[in-house]
């Protein structure tokens, strides 16, 4: 089966890509790894008039250490995020998240920026970028905008990205040496999208936890707890309660009801902090 007729562009220069995006008629879909877009086109769910591939655009697949941050190009593929020594050392939770995506073949082709721009609510990178306070660089023919991850994700598959904008790079601030972090998820089968996932950073007695999969966009909580003397049962209760309260707009679907997702948010916020503090194995649930 073939998709509906479309114009296909695979430019090598970013400016040319931005030009296609600015001038393309009708529905223009940006093709990164294609791990979500091409299946949707094969099924006839997405019928673009123009497909703009970024796979040959130069300069979008760099990982660059900028001292206080690491900049990750939008076209860096998942298997590199999972294995890159700089990323693994600065953001071990990001490498953990990348390893959880899909399967070997999908990690070879799927991209960091594609996942963020697609913004599936259960995508593994969303809570990680949210909790780490990453910023996204969006380019258009008119210039660029820097948008915090905490504002970029709006709702299910809905972001702040304008029609004429491309996500080109994400800058992730390095955490203090004293910070501890973790990424945890619940999925029924290896390779499945998570139902709920959570990323935590714990530093100087404070915890920040971003929870994905429960609501349309990740929610960030900073529970009123002091962990400097260790992780008490009371603190864990408070973390779980905060996660439950923050996910009051949880959605339900075939996998699980909204109420079940909220309970998972409670459990996985706790587990994320426990795993960050080395009190729990972060392996597959």
């Amino acid at each position: 089966m073939l998709a509906k007729e479309f114009e296909f562009h695979a430019p090598e220069e970013l400016d040319a890509a931005l030009g296609v995006l600015g001038n393309g008629g009708g529905i223009v879909k940006v093709l990164a790894g294609g791990m979500s877009l091409v299946p949707a086109m094969n099924l006839g769910l997405v019928r673009p008039d123009t497909v703009l591939s970024l796979n040959h655009v130069r300069g979008l697949d760099q990982v660059e250490d900028r001292g206080d941050s690491i900049a990750i190009g939008a076209m860096v593929r998942h298997d590199r995020i999972a294995a890159d020594p700089e990323i693994g050392s600065a953001f071990p939770l990001l490498a953990t998240a990348a390893r959880a995506i899909g399967d070997v073949q999908i990690r070879h082709r799927g991209t960091f920026g594609g996942s963020l721009a697609h913004a599936d609510p259960a995508a593994d990178y969303l809570p990680v970028m949210t909790v780490l306070g990453a910023t996204l660089r969006l380019r258009s023919s008119d210039g660029e905008r820097i948008v915090p991850a905490r504002e970029f994700f709006v709702d299910i598959m809905l972001t702040d990205l304008g029609r004429d904008e491309l996500l080109v790079e994400v800058e992730v601030p390095k955490q203090p040496d004293s910070a501890r972090s973790a990424y945890v998820r619940l999925a029924r089968v290896e390779g499945s999208f998570a139902i709920v996932n959570a990323a935590a950073v714990v530093d100087e007695g404070k915890a920040a936890i971003a929870i994905g999969g429960a609501t349309g966009a990740p929610v960030l909580i900073e529970p009123d707890v002091d962990l400097s003397g260790g992780l008490s049962e009371e603190a864990l209760e408070e973390i779980g309660d905060s996660a439950y309260e923050a996910t009051d707009e949880a959605f339900g679907d075939l996998n699980s009801s909204a109420e079940y997702r909220r309970e998972l948010a409670r459990v996985f916020a706790r587990r994320a902090v426990q795993t960050a503090l080395g009190q729990r194995d972060g392996g597959p649930e």
Partner: protein, 163 residues
Amino acid sequence: MRTSISVTVNGSARTVELDQRATLVQMLRETLGLTGTHVGCATGSCGACTVMLDGRTVKSCCVLAADVAGQEITTIEALSSSASDLHPIQRAFVANQGLQCGYCTPGVVMSTLQLLQENQDPTPAEVRHAIAGNLCRCTGYQLIVQSVMEAARLMREPAPATR
């Protein structure tokens, strides 16, 4: 709209004319006649269409053919020239009944090739992770894992001397 791309397929440079909507697996099967690569789901779930793109396995139903211009594709056909000249992975699958209906097998073999290029001595758990992107609807996973383990042994050990 028709388009023309140059690619390298199993070591041979090819110029292929195709509909620019075609996926990579459609190009391989329908334009080049390389029907060893199968289409199961066309949604990236089953892995029957697994081929190597620049030496890394991908699901060829989810890659547009027009998007791989200039790249190198390796399919199951590259592994052996005839039934009497099987690749060690293929011999291991035959010897261990690593297939029932055989539909998923070309994809599983390509994933096995990727694994054994990176890890010559995998554990059964590593084998299961490596083939997680390949579904077998006959659910013959035990024998597939056994076949991959034997393939690893065959590829590690030098071929026995023939008399």
